[in-house]
Each structure stands twice: as C-alpha cells, then as structure tokens.
C-alpha cells in the first residue's frame, strides 16, 4: 500500500487497529501506553511496540506532547499508520521521531496483522 510519509523511519510489527479516531490527551496514558478513553474500542489495550493504525487524531492539541511522552517513556508504538494524519498526530510523531505514514486504506488492515512500515518511501505492507 502506497501512502505519504509524515515522519521518516522504518518499522516492523503487529498491527493494533482502531476504526475510531484517537485523542491522545486523556485517551492514552503516556507512562504505560494503555488506552484509557472510556468506551473507546481499544480501551484497556496497550500500544507499546505495536503498529498503531487509526483513521485520524482528535481532541486537544496537547495530544502531540503525549505522543512525545510515549516515546520518551519507552511505551510508544513502533509506527503509526493513518487514513489522514491531522496536525496533532503529525506534530507528535515528528517531534518524537516515530515513523508515520498516511493516505492508507486502513480497512485492509486487521488487529494482529504483521506489517512492514517503510515511512521513508511512504509504504505499508503485510509481512
């Protein structure tokens, strides 16, 4: 699948997919990487070491700092794949140095799929 590089780098790992947008501030715990937003489809799951796949970000702009915090605390996803990366997530992944690709048909990815993300070339493929 060919998309657009938002933040460079390469990563391989298991996908964790949310059909719903993710608001990082108040949505994911920066210390543990656990999704804490009430009634979110991923509530209680952990994003550490995964390829985190979701349509787009939402909520407070402080979410960018939470993404940075996840990386700093060693609990960040290995890469992020979006349908459309908006400024909160774009800002967070670039500042944190997390590979990120958008303009990807995320409906073709299921939780548990093994993915190879080559953000430098804007590519996301099943392993």
């Amino acid at each position: 699948m060919k998309g657009r590089m938002i933040s460079p780098g390469k990563a391989e790992g298991e996908a964790i997919v949310s059909k719903e947008p993710i608001g990082f501030y108040g949505g994911i715990d920066a210390k543990t990487g656990t999704v804490i937003e009430k009634d979110h489809p991923l509530e209680g799951q952990n994003v550490k070491g995964k390829i985190l796949v979701f349509p787009n970000g939402k909520g407070s702009t402080v979410g960018s700092y939470v993404i940075y915090g996840l990386k700093k605390n060693g609990v960040a996803p290995r890469a992020i794949v979006n349908k459309e990366t908006e400024t909160i997530v774009a800002t967070g992944v670039i500042l944190a140095g997390i590979p990120c690709v958008d303009q990807i048909e995320i409906d073709e990815i299921k939780t548990g799929d093994k993915l190879i993300v080559d953000a430098d070339n804007g590519e996301v493929n099943h392993a």
Partner: protein, 395 residues
C-alpha cells in the same frame, strides 16, 4: 514546498537534531496546508504554557529542547501560565502545581524566550505592525493581531509556534495569504453595545454563526481596543474565528466586498438570549476580570469602582506582569488590595486550577471565560458587566 539552501540544510540535520525535527514539523505542516515556501516571522507567541494544559508530557518536551540548547531567533512571548509567578503562594495556588509550573517557565527562559506570559502581548511590548507576518498561538491574541492591527498570523498550535520561534520562519499558507482573508459572512448589529460584556455576548453569538468563517460587522458605530478584544476573544472561543472586520473601524474593512454574503442579524432578542445562555448560576463565590488580560484602562475602571469600599468576596483582575507593574506604579494595586481585591499577573481563570481552590461559582464579564469555565474549571458562571459584578462583591 520550495526551501532555501539553508532550510534544506537544517532539514538534513546540519544544525543538529532539535532543529531538524522542528524544521520537519514546519515543512510537514506546510505540505499538509499547501504552503509554497517558508516566510520570516517578526515575532512569536507560544501557547501551551500552563502546567494544567500541557502536563508532564509537555514539561518534559520543553525541558528536552532547552537542555539540547534550543534558542529562539525572534522576539517570543508566552501565553498565560497556570499561576501568578510571584504571588502564587499567597493567592493559594497548590505547591505541587507551582513546582511544575516553575520548571516550565525556566525551560522557556533557557530558550531565550521573554517569559512575559500574557494573552495580550500587544499591550506588553510585543506589538506587530500592519501586514507583518507573525506566528502567534493564543486564539484571542491571534484574532486581535489579524483584525485590529492587520498583521498576518494563523492560529498556531503550541509546538508549531515554538518551532517558528526556534527557526524564525513559518510556512506560507492560510491567513498569511491575502486571498484567504476575505470576509465570508456579514453580521448586522441592531442593538446598542454599552459594555465589554455586551461585546463579549455579541462575540459569543457571532462565533456560533461564523464557525471558522470571517465575519464582517456592520452597525457598530464605535469601539475601543478593549471592546474589540472582548469581541474577538469570545468569537475565537465559541467558534474558530481568527479574523473579523468591523465596518469603518478596523484595517482593510473598506476593501471587503460584502454584497452577496450570507447575513445574520444580532438584535435585542439575540443579545438577551445570549446572556441567558451564558448565565448558568447566581451569586458568585468569586469574580474574575481580565479575560483576555486587562488593560490599564480596565484596571483604572475597577479601581474607581472599589476605591474606599470593602469587598466581601474575592475579586481578581488578571493581567500581564507588565500591566501589573504599571498598576503598582500608579497606585491602583494598593487601592484595589485595600478594598480586598487582587491583581493577579501571568495567569487567567481559564488556565489556572480554580476548581482545586474551592471555587464553584465564578462571575465574569468575558464571553470567552463564560464559554470555557463550565468545562475547563467545572464552574457555574455569572456573566455580567463589570459594574454589576463589582457591586455583587461589595459588602
């Protein structure tokens, strides 16, 4: 996006990892919004300053940039902090909160930022000129700079404003381009606007109609900069208005073509309904003025209302450190304190933890504060003019 040789070099890491990521951020945002190039900015105002807003992740991010030697290249001010940086203990801000807030300010200071923390930088020494490109972040300051001064700024996020400060440039898109600055709706004002809260009520109502559009107001015969500040602040809070025009009063209003625009009417009925909507409580525990930060004219007005009288409830006037010092020099601070009031600098009620300080019902004269206090600070709101609020607080 077309980059200069120097910008390319920074993007390739010539000037270290901090600036590489900052440049990557601006380039990516520029590409998302179809910018053709970077443009130099005359000044920056950074948001995301209160510990209440940015929390530990923001604090750590800022300390990392500071410890890696990040330095700003242009005049840079800050949005309000979460507390008065001098009198926090006496006013009752919590100790744990204060320690984190001080670390945030120290990190900004180490970057060479002028740590004057205010939503009215234009009153505190950071005054752009007409058509100057700037990168400001706080929504009411953005509205004032674009609309009342005629400068050019998008509404920046905290990190993108900081990146503009560290690099001295911003991507050329949005409100930096003349073609994106045309009025998109017209609002006819058919009621008299007598007080700052009337301007706030109009702003709250207009923001709901305009959403992220550019309103053109007709029927406001006169307004001073304080009143325009209240109008713009409320519109930027209830909607996402970053630029407006007032017929005859603001720059480039006479160049707008408003003939075919969708038109809305704000009359006595709309004004009353807006006051009713914003008033969610009665009998305030505390009255807080200065959202956006009070000018010296507003502080003088409050001084004349309370001088020689006794307040039975706390009355705060939030303002910049610069205006506070002017009020000290002019003797206003002493008179207000003698009556039992307080001039609080560096912070405001929206970004300070007033809900942790025992207050449940807050009186305000600001449409913006009335918009945010119920959600951000879990307050019931009493929305009134300054004179009536002060009266409620007097013994």
């Amino acid at each position: 996006m077309e980059l200069t040789k120097q910008e390319e070099g920074i993007l390739n890491g010539d000037q270290g990892e901090v600036l590489e990521r900052q440049m990557r951020l601006l380039v990516r945002l520029g590409e998302i919004y179809n910018a053709d190039k970077m443009i130099p900015v005359g000044s920056v105002q950074v948001a995301g300053v209160s510990y209440k807003s940015v929390g530990d992740p923001g604090l750590e991010f800022l300390e990392d940039i500071a410890s890696n030697g990040g330095k700003v290249r242009v005049l840079t001010y800050l949005n309000p902090a979460g507390m008065d940086m001098k009198d926090w203990k006496e006013i009752g801000f919590p100790q744990d909160f204060a320690e984190k807030q001080i670390r945030i300010m120290n990190a900004f200071g180490a970057m060479g930022i002028n740590t004057t923390a205010t939503c009215t930088p234009y009153l505190a020494g950071n005054l752009p000129r007409f058509r100057e490109h700037i990168a400001w972040a706080e929504s009411s300051a953005v509205s004032f700079a674009n609309s009342v001064i005629g400068a050019r700024t998008n509404r920046e996020g905290g990190p993108s404003a900081l990146a503009a400060a560290l690099l001295g440039v911003t991507p050329n898109y949005g409100l930096h381009l003349n073609e994106n600055r045309k009025a998109t709706l017209r609002i006819n004002v058919n009621t008299e606007l007598k007080t700052s809260s009337d301007f706030g009520a109009l702003g709250y109502w207009a923001g709901k109609q305009a959403k992220n559009g550019i309103p053109f107001f007709k029927g406001i015969p006169n307004a001073n900069t304080d009143e325009l500040k209240f109008l713009g602040a409320a519109m930027a809070a209830s909607g996402a208005v970053a630029l407006y025009y007032v017929d005859e009063l603001t720059p480039e209003a006479d160049a707008q073509e408003v003939g075919g625009l969708e038109t809305f009417d704000f009359g006595d009925k709309e004004k009353k309904e807006t006051y009713d909507t914003l008033n969610t409580g009665q009998k305030p525990d505390i009255a807080i003025l200065g959202c956006p930060h009070a000018s010296i004219r507003e502080i003088a007005q409050v001084t004349s209302l309370v001088e020689g009288k006794r307040l039975g409830k706390p009355l705060w006037i939030c303002t910049s450190r610069t205006m506070k010092q002017l009020a000290d020099n002019l003797g206003y601070t002493k008179k207000i304190e003698k009556a039992g009031g307080k001039i609080v600098a560096d912070t405001c009620m929206v970004v300070s933890p007033i809900e942790r300080m025992g207050y449940k019902k807050t009186g305000v004269n600001s449409g913006k504060a009335a918009n945010y206090l119920p959600s951000f600070c879990k307050q019931e709101v009493i929305f009134k003019d300054v004179e009536k609020l002060v009266e409620e607080c007097l013994v």
